[in-house]
Amino acid sequence: MSDQIINILAVGVGGQGIIRLSDILANVAFRCGNDAKKSEIHGLAQRGGSVTSHIRWGKKVFSPIITEGEADYVLALEELEALRYAHFLKPGGTFIVNDFRIEPSSVLEGKAEYPADIDARLAEYGKVERILGSAIAKDAGNIKASNIAMLGALSKHFDILEATWLEVIKESLPEKLHELNEKAFAAGRAAGIS
């Protein structure tokens, strides 16, 4: 194993399942023999605010948080949030963006406009992979599985067995949600770009 640290910043809106997703991701990395850390903010932000979670793994990880210009991937469950944290991506890094918008209250109240040119603006920071994560989750049975569909797309970038991902997903979710999330993961993975 090299000394290289993998840095993933997962971003989205409170209620989209960022914490579940990042728990799974950190556990997959840990199961593969890595040191791993995962950090996020609980509390107020989860109430519909913007939410981030930092996942880092490698031979030895010190800092629990990723700093600006350091993330290998920004995994965004919502488009605007990708833009908000774009500067965390390292030059040459990749955005994996769910094709999904949640208008914040500032937009709903007409005080701000939801940007129309998100992909172009993201491209100034790095590569952009747009994934139909929420549509995939809906097809699999429930939009709530968008987080796992996006995890599927991300998984394409790592040399980790599909079985390991599925094993951890199943351990992290109640049995009645297994089928839905396995489907969402597989479809997300198929849609992923490697």
Binding site: V13, A36, A45, F62, P64, G69, E70, L89, R121
Partner: protein, 517 residues
């Protein structure tokens, strides 16, 4: 083989406390500490409670310790302000069963009303303090803290910060050791702090301090890691991680026991390197201590005065490394958190804002009313303050200024009730609005005395706030339907004009509880 897994820092504190044989755990919820007590409640052999506030929770903990049990008491940083009164004299009485108090500080104040540095409480009250840098250390240090507590007859602080509380890192756990109850003997000279007893106990505190200083200079939690002979960094807590990441070749004095400060060890370390930095969050606690020793040091004041540290600051400012990435995107619409869909406690704020009423606010979900589109709060300071501040406003405000105090049920039990008694006693005409959602929602739905069950989910009496207000002497107590704006408006306008004290209860169960149970 011992099991290794990824654990949140707060979970690791609970795990360590359980392994240390803790029998009683008390707390009042508060981010970023809340999960500690939630995890404690999952251990069947630990008597866990949500107390009504931090002072009460520490007092309960002291009683349990007196009877010889190991006790954990956890709170967020501002909780220590509330618990400070028993704390300062507890230091004089000492303990019987080990007593560890967790203070969860919040550099960066993600979910707090200030950024206070509770290392100064350790210094102020003379309580030894440990500061873990990750979940493994949290688990290890809480166990160590119980040993120190019993060995030196003192309460011990464990200082967590948000990034230790809410980060999952790899932890190797052990098993529980049952610790027998230490026998209780009546000893008024030790446990009753009348002035003559307290005076003598103060000598014992100073003797204990001498021993603790020796411990701090020699304990394994304070260690020198020699690398570069040129550059050395003194650091503690999560900042250690940032230093190791950004300055991998620097020598480090890692301070895991941050009170008393290991002066001898600092001198030794300083003599082994040419340049000394200090890396710490919040106040310049270590930096000042080093300067007092006459040792030149820099770092804290120059690098970060406000907010959280991260490795990037060190990389940029000390190593002059730059990722080359562009700065933050401009014109990104803000996404502030808001009231939940269907919440029964938002219309009241529309009424208050639309009718130009001065609102002494309080801390809970309803603090969101301070933000757009409501902009309904004039003040928000600390839990329970709404009621007393409004009473003070009424003393001075011109007659045409209409005002109310607004608080939630958990906050009412925390520190609103005494304020209401004060209003009656002092013949105030204040109007108090209680948003009773039967739960402590803001911090993640912990039960409180109005809920009807306790931390373990077992039934407990649900106190009726209306009855309580009447018993406190408020003659005018009304309930309103939180969704009927007209009804709320009529009631509010009538009560703010009334020349006597009154209470309006907006009686709506939390929608999240209704939805998810």
């Amino acid at each position: 083989m011992p099991e290794k897994k990824l654990m949140m820092g707060n979970e690791a504190v609970a795990r360590g406390a359980w392994e240390a044989g803790v029998r009683v755990s008390t707390a009042y919820p508060g981010t970023p500490a809340t999960e500690i007590n939630e995890y404690m409640s999952t251990y069947e052999d630990v008597d866990t409670e949500w107390s009504v506030n931090e002072k009460v929770s520490l007092e309960v903990a002291i009683g349990a310790s007196l009877m010889g049990a190991r006790v954990l008491c956890s709170m967020k940083q501002v909780g220590v302000n509330v618990a400070a009164d028993p704390l300062f004299s507890l230091v004089y009485t000492g303990i019987n069963g080990g007593l560890v108090i967790v203070t969860a500080d919040e550099p960066g104040l993600h979910s707090s009303q200030n950024e206070q540095d509770n290392r100064y409480y350790a210094m102020f009250a003379q309580v030894p303090m440990f500061e873990p840098a990750d979940a493994q250390e949290a688990r290890d240090m809480v166990k160590r803290a119980f040993e120190v507590s019993e060995q030196f007859d003192t309460p011990v602080f464990l200082r967590m910060t948000t990034r230790v509380c809410h980060t999952r890192t790899v932890v190797e756990c052990g098993e529980r050791t049952e610790v027998p109850l230490r026998p209780y003997e009546k000893n008024p000279a030790k446990y009753t702090m009348v002035p003559s007893h307290a005076y003598r106990r103060h000598f014992d505190v100073e003797k204990r301090m001498t021993k603790l200083i020796a411990l701090s200079d020699t304990c394994e939690e304070n260690r020198i890691e020699m690398r570069s002979p040129d550059f050395g960094v003194v650091t503690s807590g999560v900042c250690y991680q940032y230093v190791r990441e950004a300055l991998p070749d620097y020598s480090v004095l890692k301070i895991g026991m941050s009170y008393p400060i290991p002066n001898q060890l600092i001198r030794t370390f300083a003599s082994q390197v040419k340049y000394l930095y200090v890396v710490e969050e919040n106040r310049s606690y270590l930096e000042k201590a080093i300067l007092v020793l006459g040792i030149p040091v820099e770092g804290k004041e120059q690098l970060l005065r406000v907010g959280e540290f991260n490795a990037g600051i060190l990389k940029r400012r000390i190593m002059h490394q730059d990722s080359g990435q562009k700065g933050p995107a401009q014109n990104v619409p803000v996404r502030t958190p808001g009231f939940c869909k269907g919440c029964g406690h938002k219309f009241i704020f529309e009424v208050l804002a639309e009718n130009n009423i001065t609102v002494c606010g309080d801390i809970g979900c309803y603090g969101l009313a301070a933000l757009p589109p409501y902009n309904a709060l004039d003040t928000l300071i600390c839990m329970g303050a709404s009621v007393g501040m409004n009473h003070g406003v009424r003393k001075v405000a011109p007659k045409e200024l209409k005002s109310v105090g607004v608080l939630g049920d958990s906050t009412f039990f925390h520190s609103g009730m005494t304020n209401l008694a004060n209003i009656v006693f002092n013949k105030s005409d204040a109007t108090t609005i209680i948003l009773d959602n039967r739960i402590t929602a803001m911090t993640g739905h912990q039960p409180n005395p109005s809920t009807g069950h306790n931390v373990k989910g077992l039934e407990s009496p649900a106190l009726d706030i209306e009855t309580l207000c009447r018993a406190l002497g408020i003659k005018h107590v009304y309930r309103v339907d939180g969704y009927k704006k007209d009804e709320i408006k009529a009631r509010v306008l009538e009560e703010v004009a009334r020349p006597e004290a009154s209470v309006i209860i907006v009686d709506e169960k939390c929608v999240m509880v209704k939805k998810h149970g």
